[in-house]
Point group: C2
DNA sequence: ACTTCTCTCTACCAATTGGTAGAGGACCGT
DNA sequence: ACGGTCCTCTACCAATTGGTAGAGAGAAGT
């Protein structure tokens, strides 16, 4: 069976919101992209903002699922970090708008930030505990795990999503470029995290 | 003398565009914030987008000036990196919307990215050369300077601007929090960059 | 007194915005 | 054949959007 209308709307909305942003994407534009009328969108969702929230919910579960799967494998130390970074990167290459949406939600003026946090809080907690454990075990350079987590988050999301900055720096944005970026990022993170 | 109307418009526009974004800020809202009519704004700037470009230009020069000043002092190695990070952080604390605007311009769907690059390209080049020089001199872990620059950029801008993510992680966003964040960031970067 | 220039305003506009009301078709079980 | 539910549509709306035209106030120069 073909994809349901509701799913198609969410797909198109993720693309649009993750690229141009929420405010810059009208319901009419979204509908035109799908070849339907905006009233059809408003049949499935009570308002424009409700579409956004549904997109955020779905994107958040997708991300959380990736983390859960990777954490379930129970790898140790920097290999665990590397495995997660690789998966986030794969996600970012396949669906760049997904992390773009996260950036949209986490902007200062945004609503729905609480909606996202509700999903991600558990994995943040788990990540913090993981870092603390690894430090205690001497497999990672000791530091404040919360701050370290923030640095890791910023670095990974930035390198994965800042395509325009890369263009401005003259870095290739081909698939091969993405692999090179990932490799360099992992080396960077390993150097930052390795115990002395 | 009081600040000119034109400057006041640019100030308010930076605040609004850097927080809520370009699309989400109407000329009417901007004018209301200033206690004037939007036609006054359109007297100084031919269009809404022209306001944005002027804001980008000013923000870019401010940023470039910071780098020029810091680079002119000719410090070596990681101390130079630390000095620049500190200054960027000071800027981010005093005028958070400035880096917020950069994030807005560098989003995938954005126009005006070329306008920003035109300003920043020289300092990117200089930064790349600096990293290369330091690596050659053995004062920095060798790696691809372009990729390293991207990692550095992502980490610094992320840690400085992702206030909502920090809130979601439960990190304090007080001034003291900013200092702690900066310290941890610098330790993180030093660890990542130090030669083996 | 005169014009000229600078600035901010009122008045207005066509287009687009998110959203409502409700018609009508397709498919369902009865 | 019939009522009901699901879905997509046309028609419409008030509010807001970016932008135009031009009036009028004030200061400055002549």
């Amino acid at each position: 069976m073909a994809e349901s209308t509701r799913e198609r709307i969410l797909d198109a909305a993720l693309r649009a919101y993750g690229t141009d942003g929420f405010a810059a994407t009208s319901l009419d534009a979204l509908a035109a992209d799908l070849g339907i009328r905006k009233q059809t969108i408003l049949y499935y969702f009570p308002s424009k903002h409700a579409v956004f929230e549904a997109v955020v919910d779905r994107a958040a579960s997708d991300l959380v699922k990736v983390f859960e799967e990777e954490a379930a494998r129970g790898i140790d130390g920097l290999d665990q970090v590397e495995a997660i970074v690789k998966r986030v990167f794969r996600l970012a290459v396949r669906r760049p708008q997904l992390l773009g949406l996260i950036r949209e939600v986490t902007r200062p003026g945004s609503l729905s930030i609480d909606r996202l946090s509700a999903h991600t809080a558990p994995i943040f907690d788990r990540a913090r505990d993981f870092l603390q454990r690894e430090m205690d075990a001497g497999r990672m350079r000791p530091s404040d795990p919360e701050m370290l987590l923030l640095s890791l988050y910023s670095t990974v999301v930035g390198v994965a999503t800042e395509l325009e900055v890369q263009r401005a720096m003259g870095i290739s944005d081909s698939l091969r470029g993405a692999v090179a970026r990932r490799q360099e990022l992992i080396r960077f993170l390993r150097a930052a995290l390795e115990p002395v």
